[in-house]
Each structure stands twice: as structure tokens, then as C-alpha cells.
């Protein structure tokens, strides 16, 4: 059971991070981004190529993160910006088109075989009181938690406050001198950074491929839904809970039911607590 919970926490961290990436873009730019997993995947593939070419681990990680960030910023500037005035529907479709194109592009360049990102600690295990813990799991869970704390801290900084102001009311925020365009680019860059981290964490523990991106994005959206697309804490906790539920269902019921259960969870959250399940739990507004 504990073993299941542990692997749940691990996959939950990927979902939570991807959910956070979605929420960050949603908050500042008001775009539901279906291409988030693919952005992370493109960056991670570049990293694995560098890694395979003999470049050592940490420089490859840095390059991966930079590429993920830049790619997201370019997408915002080149594709999303001028669609914003036409409402949600074209934006939604644009990200869907983008995810199709990026996914196929990855397949074309690197093929559809699953790959992994070999880290110095890959394959090493710990024994914690009879529990078999791999270093990959430790890294994922720790980085996931640090990422969540970092993003929360960011939203409390002056720039984060501006971002929240834009999310609250774009027009008013602009009137008081907030540069909404620059913030949107920053949010996309931040989203790309977090998404690349999420996919890279997945790749150093297990395999990633063009197929894994599709399910990762769905789970990311589930996590984001649990936070009501607003709450960072709700998204993070929701992602972890989703990972655990999914592993428990996979172990004790059937792996084919995993997906359906995740979908059911979304539906229940939306019906019972449309604002995310942590809404109202906050004691004071910060």
C-alpha cells in the first residue's frame, strides 16, 4: 500500500507540475493551453539528444529548461497574442492545432519510440524501512514540491501581484500601468519552464513518448480543474491526490479503469465544488 502511495506521489508530482503550468498561463493570459505537455516534450527530447551525444547531465538540463521557456514565449508572441481579442474558441483551437503539430513534429524528427533522460542517479534505490524507494522518485517529489513553493512565492512577489491583477480584471490592471503583454509573455515562459520540468522528471524516472504527452495533458487539466484553474495549492494537492487515486485504482482494480476514474474525479469536483475543492478552505485572502 505504502509502495503504491509512493508511486502515486511520484506520478502525482508530474500531474501537479503540469497542472501548475496550465494554471499559470490561464491566470495571466487567459488561455487554456492544450499544447503544454508537447512544449515540455520538445524541450525534453532536445535534452535527451544532448545527453545521448555525450554532454553531461546538468548542462543538458539547463538547455532543456531554456528551450522550454523560449519555445513557450515564442508561441505566445507569434501565435496567441493577436487572437486574444477573438475570444476563447480560436485560442482553444490554436493550442489544439499546435499540440497536434508539435507532437507530429517530434515523431517526424525523433520517431515514436519511448525515450528516457538518464540522470546520474538513475537506477539507484534506497531502502527506507522495508520500502523500496528509487532516487528518481525522491528527486521527482522534492522538485515537484519545490516547484510548487517557488510558483506560490512568485505570485506573492510584485510581479505576481500584477499578474493576479491582470487575471482579475485586464482593463483595470492596464489602466493602473500594468504591462499586460509583457506579463503574458512571462507567464508563458514560466509555464514552459514548469512543463519542461514536469516532462523531464517523468523522463528521468520512466519513459516518455509522443503518446505519453496526450495522457499527461489530460491529467494536468484534471489537476488544474481540482484547483478551479485559480488556486495553486489546490492544483498541486489535486495533482498529488490524482496520482495516488490513479495508482491505487491501477493496483487494486484494473489499469484500464485508471483513466475513467480520473475523468469521474473531474466531473465530481466540477459538480460539487465548481471553484476547485480547496475553495473556501482559505481562512484569509493573501
Amino acid at each position: 500500500m505504502l509502495q503504491t502511495v509512493l508511486s502515486g506521489l511520484e506520478s502525482g508530482s508530474w500531474f501537479a507540475l503540469l497542472g501548475l503550468a496550465i494554471v499559470v498561463v490561464m491566470k495571466a493570459a487567459d488561455v487554456p493551453n492544450f499544447a503544454m505537455a508537447e512544449i515540455g516534450l520538445v524541450a525534453t527530447y532536445v535534452g535527451t539528444v544532448l545527453n545521448a551525444a555525450g554532454i553531461s547531465f546538468w548542462p543538458a538540463v539547463v538547455v532543456t529548461l531554456v528551450i522550454g521557456t523560449l519555445l513557450a514565449i515564442v508561441i505566445d508572441l507569434a501565435l496567441m497574442r493577436k487572437l486574444a481579442k477573438h475570444g476563447h474558441f480560436p485560442l482553444l483551437l490554436m493550442t489544439i492545432g499546435l499540440s497536434l503539430a508539435l507532437n507530429a513534429l517530434i515523431g517526424l524528427i525523433w520517431g515514436h519510440e519511448p525515450r528516457s533522460f538518464t540522470a546520474p542517479w538513475s537506477g539507484n534505490h534506497l531502502d527506507v524501512g522495508g520500502l523500496d524507494v528509487s532516487w528518481a522518485q525522491v528527486v521527482t517529489i522534492v522538485v515537484g514540491a519545490l516547484g510548487a513553493i517557488g510558483i506560490t512565492a512568485f505570485f506573492r512577489s510584485p510581479m505576481g501581484a500584477q499578474m493576479r491583477a491582470v487575471a482579475e480584471n485586464r482593463e483595470t490592471a492596464r489602466l493602473i500601468g500594468v504591462n499586460a503583454g509583457r506579463l503574458s509573455a512571462i507567464a508563458w515562459g514560466l509555464g514552459g519552464l514548469i512543463a519542461s520540468t514536469a516532462v523531464m522528471l517523468q523522463a528521468q524516472s520512466t519513459l516518455v513518448s509522443t503518446h505519453s504527452a496526450a495522457s499527461l495533458i489530460i491529467y494536468g487539466f484534471v489537476a488544474a480543474t481540482m484547483g478551479g484553474f485559480v488556486s495553486l495549492f489546490g492544483t498541486f494537492a489535486g495533482g498529488l491526490a490524482l496520482g495516488i487515486i490513479q495508482q491505487v485504482v491501477g493496483t487494486y482494480i484494473s489499469t484500464s479503469a485508471q483513466f475513467a476514474v480520473a475523468l469521474l474525479a473531474v466531473f465530481l469536483v466540477l459538480m460539487l465544488r465548481p471553484g476547485g475543492f480547496t475553495k473556501g478552505m482559505r481562512l484569509r485572502d493573501v
Binding site: P32, L79, K82, L83, H86, H88, F89, P90, L92, L93, M94, I96, G97, L98, S99, L100, A101, L102, N103, A104, L105, G107, L108, A214, I218, F221, V222, T225, F229, S256, A257, F259, A260, L263, L264, V266, F267, L270, M271, P274
Partner: protein, 358 residues
């Protein structure tokens, strides 16, 4: 006296000619009438041409045309929901699947195909109303996610219910043929007839009070309650109708494909459906037809490209959105509103008026 605006927007609705009598109406009505008649004529000619298709086209082109019509019907329902009532409900592909599976399973039980069409329509319509219930509390993007989740859950259910649906392996569909006509032509005629009826009925209801109420609800939301219109009721009706139409299209799709399996109805169908609504122009009348033709041609053109297919598809989609955020139909509107065409049209109307007066 009915308002002239309504008559102009109508093709099939050219009312009693005797109502064109003296006064100011006499000046505008005949031209509106003429436009209506021309449009009606175009529709009839197009329908006749479509009926001739099986005798002219080879079997591949007939299949493509048939598929276009099936998708056009499905998009008609989707457009009703997304375009007219403004709710991004994403369970449409799953409701389409309900139609395909429902019809095939009912036929296995001995129900004639033509009877299964309204049956699956009613079943999916009811289901769509249930799926639409989150609309009580959710709007916009949240509704999209909730309905997407439910739609995916339905497809998962189709995979799981092995005893009835054959699971992931799929299900053979018994093909219905009209007596004396060969298989593919018969399937095509049934599709064409259903499509014509569906477009006619939906258009008729949308240009009248129902369509305007839907638009009012879309724009005003809960405020429409102050006009004595229950927003919730109209939202659910839109869900029900779109579900009905989706399942009707699904039953036709099953006949066309003769074999159905769950993977047909996942994101790889939902995305093209969204494209069809978008390209055709959300909230337009003939957009579904244009959108379906666009998407089917695109899919067929890029079929042999392998990995490039998805790239091409994604890129074309992105370019289309970037260039025409209002869909292909907006191109016609831009064209119509352009100065040159405006002048040409104005001159024609003026000459027609002088003819009438003479």
C-alpha cells in the same frame, strides 16, 4: 404583416404572395421574395446534383461525399450547441458514438435501421441533457472540461462493456440497403435524405423564435430571466437537440464505415469536429457544410503523408485560425460587405425596384 427582415433571411419561408400589397412593403417585399426564390432554387438544384452523385462519381469519391454529409449533420448539431447557444460542450464525439453503436446494437436485436435513427436520437438527446446538467452551475471553459470528461468516460464505457459493444475490438454494423439499389449508393441516398431533412428543420427553427431566443440566452445568460426566458431550459434544450442530431449522424456514420470501434470516437474525432464548427463559422447556417467539406478534404488530401499528415493538419488549422479568426464564412461576409460588391448589389436592387414600380 410579417417583418421584412425575416422574409429576407428565409429561403423556404416565402410566405403567401398575397401579403405583398400596397404601401412601403410593396417596394421591399418583391426583391426579398426574389432573393428568397433564388436561394430556394439554388438549394433545389444543389440537392438534385447531390442526388445524381452516385451515378457520376467513382466509389471513392462517393465515400468522401457521403462522409462529408455525415460530418455536416454532426456539425449541424455541434454548431447549434457551440455557435448558437454559446456553450462549449465537448461530449459531441461521444454522442456521435452512441448513435453509431446504438443503431448497430439495435439492428442486431432486429430493429429496422430506419427506426433506429430516431431511437438513438432520442436516447442520445436524453443523455445529452444529463451531460448538460453541469451547465446549471458551470459556463465557458469549466463546462468544456466537465463535458469533455463525461464524453471521454462514455468512450471508456464503450471499451469496457465488452459483452454488448465488443470492447476495444469493435463491432460489425449490419448494412441497410434500400430495395433495388446497390450498397454504397443506398447508404448515400439515406444519408442525403437525412441530411436534407436535418438541415431544413434546423434552419427553420433557428431563423425563427427559437434561434433568436438561443442567441438572447447566449448574450444575456441568466439575465434573460428578466425577459421571462429560462436560460437554463434553453441551454438544456440546445444540449438535447445537439445530442439528438449527433446520434442521428452517428447512426449514418456506422452504416458508412460498416465497422465501429471506440478509438474512432476519441480526440481524433472531436478535434476535427471543433475544426468543422470553427472553419464553417460558429453560429452560421451553412457553415457546418462548408466546415465538414474543408475538414474531410484536408484529411483525405493529407492521408498518405504519414507523420507529415498531422503536422500539415495542425499547421493548416493554425494558419486558418490566425488568418480567419471568424472562420471561412467570415470570408464571405467580408466579401459581401466590401464596397465594390455593396455597390453592385445596391445597383441591382435599385433597378429591380424601378422594374416593380414600372
Amino acid at each position: 404583416m410579417s417583418e421584412p427582415g425575416r422574409a429576407t433571411a428565409t429561403t423556404t419561408h416565402t410566405e403567401d404572395p398575397t401579403m405583398v400589397t400596397a404601401g412601403a412593403e410593396a417596394v421591399t417585399e418583391p426583391s426579398a421574395h426574389a432573393v428568397g426564390r433564388t436561394k430556394g432554387l439554388v438549394a433545389v438544384v444543389a440537392l438534385l446534383l447531390l442526388f445524381a452523385a452516385p451515378f457520376v462519381l467513382n466509389s471513392y469519391l462517393l465515400f468522401v461525399l457521403n462522409l462529408t454529409l455525415v460530418y455536416a449533420v454532426a456539425t449541424l448539431g455541434f454548431n447549434l450547441l457551440v455557435g448558437w447557444s454559446g456553450q462549449i460542450g465537448l461530449a459531441h464525439a461521444a454522442l456521435f458514438a452512441i448513435g453509431a453503436y446504438g443503431s448497430a446494437i439495435a439492428m442486431e436485436q432486429g430493429v429496422p435501421f430506419l427506426v433506429t435513427i430516431p431511437l438513438v436520437g432520442l436516447a442520445a438527446g436524453g443523455l445529452a441533457v444529463l451531460i448538460g446538467f453541469p451547465a446549471i452551475r458551470l459556463t465557458g471553459f469549466f463546462l468544456a472540461i466537465a463535458t469533455l470528461a463525461l464524453g471521454m468516460a462514455i468512450v471508456e464505457l464503450l471499451k469496457g462493456a465488452r459483452a454488448v459493444t465488443g470492447g476495444g475490438g469493435g463491432l460489425n454494423v449490419e448494412v441497410f440497403t434500400l430495395p433495388g439499389i446497390n450498397g454504397s449508393a443506398s447508404t448515400y441516398f439515406v444519408t442525403l435524405a437525412v441530411a436534407a431533412v436535418a438541415f431544413f428543420l434546423v434552419r427553420r427553427s433557428l431563423i425563427g423564435r427559437f434561434g433568436r431566443t438561443l442567441q438572447a440566452v447566449r448574450h444575456l445568460g441568466q439575465l434573460s430571466g428578466s425577459l421571462g426566458v429560462s436560460a437554463l431550459r434553453y441551454r438544456l434544450i440546445a444540449f438535447g437537440l445537439s445530442g439528438f442530431i449527433a446520434a442521428v449522424a452517428g447512426s449514418l456514420y456506422g452504416q458508412l464505415q460498416t465497422f465501429v470501434f471506440p478509438a474512432m470516437f476519441e480526440m481524433n474525432l472531436l478535434v476535427p469536429m471543433l475544426v468543422m464548427v470553427f472553419v464553417g463559422g460558429a453560429g452560421s447556417h451553412w457553415g457546418p457544410l462548408i466546415g465538414a467539406a474543408f475538414a474531410v478534404v484536408l484529411i483525405e488530401l493529407f492521408q498518405d503523408l504519414g507523420d507529415l499528415q498531422a503536422i500539415a493538419y495542425g499547421v493548416v488549422l493554425m494558419v486558418a485560425i490566425a488568418v480567419l479568426p471568424g472562420g471561412l464564412v467570415s470570408l464571405f461576409a467580408t466579401f459581401r460587405d466590401s464596397r465594390l460588391v455593396g455597390r453592385l448589389l445596391a445597383r441591382r436592387t435599385a433597378s429591380e425596384r424601378s422594374e416593380v414600380r414600372a
